[in-house]
Subunit: 340 residues, 2 copies
């Protein structure tokens, strides 16, 4: 009996191994890509202009966690893009300065793997992270800090100025652009390889059978039409192709000038509820079914949605270890917090 069982398992295992190779091939042909394990290849992707240095990343990390970049002094990038919560805030619409919710009811997208996006913001108006970082800092319902205030705050702290010199040379101008770019450089490093990547990179047992089944279904249903590439998303797509989005009336966002909306990354998606640009759906299976209905014209069953969600769990990535930074102290010259 014991031997019989053993033989049975062996056959099962080898048939799965074959299926795995096929599945990886199928995924690749559908445009899915792994985060490269090779440093040079990864570097080419996340750092095409060779701006990343350890000094800038360390400084960018400080700035990312720096609440004094906001008018009030209590909101940082990390407030809405929390590195401990999948890179988001877990609320439907971002809430910022003066407890104001995003006026268009927009949900904070994750910062993790955002370096792989073709465009930044839900309407794709920003080409890269360095540019994106300029937005929320100034936006009245977010950090509400005019560039002049940001520059004054940072330049009032000698320890910051010193770090900018170390990062860019002694003639650096510590201006709004350099400050926000440095945050972008830090964000470039926030990539999260997952078991999905291990699988595509050849580790056949990195996924469970159920995850492989879900992945197969994910491709068969056509989810990879939009959720493809390394980010499994991140590019502009028409929204509501086959039907109108169920919660189109929550907020007033209609997409870019062509009514296109950025397809969010599916990496770490199990950690970043609620979903959609307006954060209107909390349950991931519900989100999958809604996508089938409005993008693919398909009725995805509860069972199928569960299987796809099982696959999505394999996209939970290994987060970079971040040592919480010690920030320079304010001085008499530092502009005071302003809560109005």
């Amino acid at each position: 009996m014991k031997i019989f069982k053993f033989v049975g398992l062996s056959i099962l295992a080898s048939s799965l191994l074959l299926a795995s190779a096929d599945l990886a091939d199928k995924a690749t042909k559908a445009g899915l890509k792994a985060i490269p394990t090779d440093n040079a290849a990864l570097s080419k992707l996340i750092d095409p202009n060779k701006t990343i240095t350890p000094e800038r990343v360390e400084l960018g990390k400080k700035l990312y966690f720096e609440p004094r970049l906001s008018k009030s002094g209590i909101i940082s990038c990390n407030t809405c893009h929390n590195l401990g919560m999948g890179g988001v805030d877990g609320v439907p619409a971002a809430v910022g300065h003066m407890w104001t919710a995003n006026p268009h009811h927009l949900n904070s997208p994750t910062v993790y793997n955002a370096v792989f996006f073709a465009a930044q913001f839900w309407d794709g108006r920003s080409p890269h992270l360095e540019d994106q970082a300029q937005g929320p800092m100034q936006a009245a319902p977010e950090m509400a800090a005019p560039p002049s205030l940001v520059e004054e705050r940072i330049n009032s702290m000698p320890a910051y100025v010193e770090e900018f010199k170390k990062a860019y040379g002694k003639d650096v101008k510590v201006d709004f652009k350099t400050i926000t770019s440095t945050i972008g450089i830090f964000e470039r490093t926030l990539v999260t390889p997952s078991r999905f990547d291990d699988f595509l990179n050849g580790k056949k047992d990195a996924l469970t059978d159920a995850e492989k089944e879900g992945m197969n279904l994910f491709i068969d249903k056509g989810c990879t039409t939009c959720h493809t590439g390394i980010a499994l998303g991140g590019s502009m797509q028409p929204f509501g192709i086959t039907a109108k989005y169920k919660y189109a009336d929550v907020g007033d966002f209609v997409g870019d000038k062509n009514k296109m909306v950025k397809a969010p990354t599916l990496r770490n998606i199990t950690e970043t509820a609620p979903y959609f640009h307006n954060g209107a759906i909390w349950n991931l299976a519900d989100a999958v079914k809604e996508m089938g209905r409005i993008q693919l014209g398909l009725k995805i069953s509860d069972d199928e949605a569960t299987k796809i969600v099982t696959f999505l769990g394999a996209l939970e990535g290994r987060k970079p270890e971040v040592t919480y930074p010690q920030l320079p102290k304010s001085t008499d010259k530092t502009p005071k917090p302003d809560f109005k």
Copy 2:
């Protein structure tokens, strides 16, 4: 000439060495104490009930950074007691739920070295950190979360429940008391040895001459009357002994039932502006002069205040390295954020 200079420096150095030993002795007699370097001695101080374990500290750290312990889901302990900013928020009066400033205009005290305080809160109403942690979480203008909501949120995430079991045994009841106590246990570890401690522990050159001069003046002026012990503060004291506090009209706080106010720790004080229970004074030298006037009946000159502030800089401590925690993901059962 060169030899002469050398001899001169030698004489100066040895006279300072003697002065250092005297100064350390004087400081000790004035009640100043170093953070012990000996682990057993430190442990006895910060962990008298032997509740600290690595599992509880790690879990407590997660909870300390956990915004879902607030009603809104976006305010954590670290929002007002920021470990990267000397353990404070750097604003006059804490601002919390619904952008409400503390109604009594109370300034957030530092969490660093709070384990050494004789009492917690400005009015000393709480005996220890485990008890203290229950306050801000429930307070309407802070985290605004009733105990039942806190319990529901944490218990809705299996990864948290699992960690509580690891930390306390499988029969643990994950209730409000255990949740807040665990935060207190983490906070017990937040001690910051400084050059001041190194000096008292025998390293004579740990302080500069200017810092030693400032320390001597600090003791001579009588600052150690209240700012004494390991925390250089942390006990209840009468406030406004020789004159009325200049900003007594900012807020309505009058102290405990005996009108006593907790003397804040001076550790990391150079990093924790603004000062006093109502955060009304931003400049540390001004704060020192005000203390002289209202507590000691002394006119402390600008020059003397500068010297004392120089000494206070030596109390900037080495912060424990904190890896930013990855928090468990919400589930369908997790109560939703509530911004009202």
